[in-house]
């Protein structure tokens, strides 16, 4: 095939969680799919992510995509590879104004069809006794869950392969051609192409602005039953959606293994992947302020990852402006695990000219083409 032309219904560039979901959905519809991935499957942001399936309600479009996606995640709730654990999300209010916000947010989530309710301080401490004293209450979203994303990505790629998809492992797309892609070994593939390369998007589509936003995570030894819910501070959105150069927020997760995964930190313009002692310190101090018991736990590993961030925080899902048969699904920032299945469904509807279940306009890549 080297140097030759092969014809495909969909060439998926990138096998992170987004590319894997797209490839799986396309193969399930009977398309002849080819997947190209230079590194390990799910080895980029997918491997670095917390794997928290969560609906953020501060933007209606983001909420719509998350809700749509969360319904599809239910398909994997019994999948062994997914390590799906329905721990629920407990948002913690540090003051009265945050507690009031919890009330408004639970109403918004409920209006969107997501079960959520505010909890008072007494209930909060019953749910998570190790929280620091002085918290005012919070919001419980009981149906949310955590998964292990890299294994889900592998499962989806394998499932696509079982339906005829081809995987070009260890190969990189050197350039997009007029009718497909050219790989780094010279192979040319022809067919509609979907770019799902996350942070590497600018290499192929520099016209779509995207910045890597670095994160840090730490995981502990096993401490079963110390923590039951994914905990976040209600001020989390200020960190996640603020434009500050760097920010941290309290965000801890009970892994099904009994380990505790601790986030979260956000940094723009941090090019190297090294663990930054300063960011780690800020992030951990924030976590200790909410959960002092963490101080004494044994950390096993710390690592970093990069979230693909678009200027408006919404992913690019749809046709690449000015190009025929070229599609993009990238820029999910910190919500790529949650929103990948919905993104794939939406994109396939667009490719086939069907009307998607949710309005695709907010995610259209054309929004940034001035």
């Amino acid at each position: 095939m080297k140097g030759g032309i092969a014809s495909h219904d969909l060439i998926v560039v990138g096998a992170g969680i987004v590319g894997a979901c797209c490839a799986d959905a396309a193969a399930a519809e009977g398309l002849r799919v080819t997947i190209i991935e230079p590194g390990p499957i799910g080895g980029g942001a997918t491997a670095a992510a917390m794997g928290h399936l969560v609906a953020m309600d501060d933007d209606p479009a983001e909420l719509a995509l998350a809700h749509y996606s969360l319904q599809q995640w239910e398909e994997f709730s019994d999948l062994q590879e997914a390590e799906f654990s329905r721990c629920g999300t407990l948002w913690v209010a540090r003051g009265e104004h945050e507690l009031r916000a919890a009330g408004q947010r639970s109403a918004r989530l409920a209006a969107a069809g997501i079960q959520a309710h505010a909890v008072d301080a007494k209930t909060l401490y019953e749910l998570e006794p190790e929280l620091a004293p002085g918290m005012h209450g919070g919001m419980l979203v009981p149906r949310e869950a955590v998964v292990y994303p890299p294994r889900v990505a592998r499962y989806l790629v394998r499932r696509a392969q079982s339906r005829g998809a081809q995987l070009h492992a260890g190969r990189r797309v050197q350039q997009l051609t007029r009718d497909g892609v050219q790989l780094d070994d010279g192979t040319r593939l022809a067919g509609p192409t979907l770019v799902a390369t996350g942070c590497a998007l600018p290499e192929l589509l520099p016209q779509l602005p995207l910045r890597p936003r670095k994160g840090h995570l730490v995981i502990t030894e096993r401490y079963p039953a110390l923590l039951r819910h994914q905990l976040l501070e209600l001020g989390y959105a200020d960190s996640a959606h603020g434009d500050a150069g760097s920010s941290v927020a309290f965000n801890v997760q009970p892994r099904p293994t009994g380990q505790i995964l601790i986030g979260s930190a956000r940094e723009f313009d941090a090019a190297d992947a090294e663990v930054s002692p300063v960011m780690l310190q800020r992030m951990l101090e924030r976590a200790f302020a909410f959960m002092p018991v963490l101080r004494k736990l044994q950390a096993l590993r710390a690592w970093t990852g990069f979230r693909p961030a678009t200027p408006d925080g919404l992913p690019y899902l749809g046709a690449v402006p000015g190009r025929a048969n070229l599609w993009v699904a990238a820029g999910h920032e910190g919500l790529g695990i949650t929103t990948a299945p919905g993104s794939a469904r939406l994109l396939l509807d667009l490719i086939h000219g069907r009307t998607p279940a949710i309005d695709p306009a907010p995610y259209a890549p054309s929004r940034v083409a001035a």
């Binding site: 030894e221 401490y223 293994t257 004494k296 044994q298």
Partner: protein
């Protein structure tokens, strides 16, 4: 070299020569140090702090390497069951 230290392992009183490790004290009581992820019984492999097979709870603190910690008077050691 001369003295003895007294500690408890899983509630049993143990006397060891000063300078002994917690691992040695545990071995006088039980061959079992920790349960692996799949529930197998495990005990020290490397004896020098590398393999983490001797992890157990000392005075309430979990995941301590028994081979690296000197036995001390009054210590309460608990293997993982």
């Amino acid at each position: 070299m001369s003295g003895l230290v007294r500690l408890t392992v899983n509630g049993c009183a143990v006397e060891m020569p000063d300078g002994s490790s917690v691992a040695a004290a545990v071995a006088t009581v039980t061959p079992h140090f920790r349960r692996s992820v799949r529930g197998e019984s495990r005990a020290p492999l490397c004896g020098m702090g590398v393999c983490f097979e001797c992890r157990l709870r000392i005075d309430g603190v979990a995941h301590q390497r028994a081979c690296m910690i000197p036995a001390r008077n009054g210590m309460q050691v608990q293997t993982d069951d």
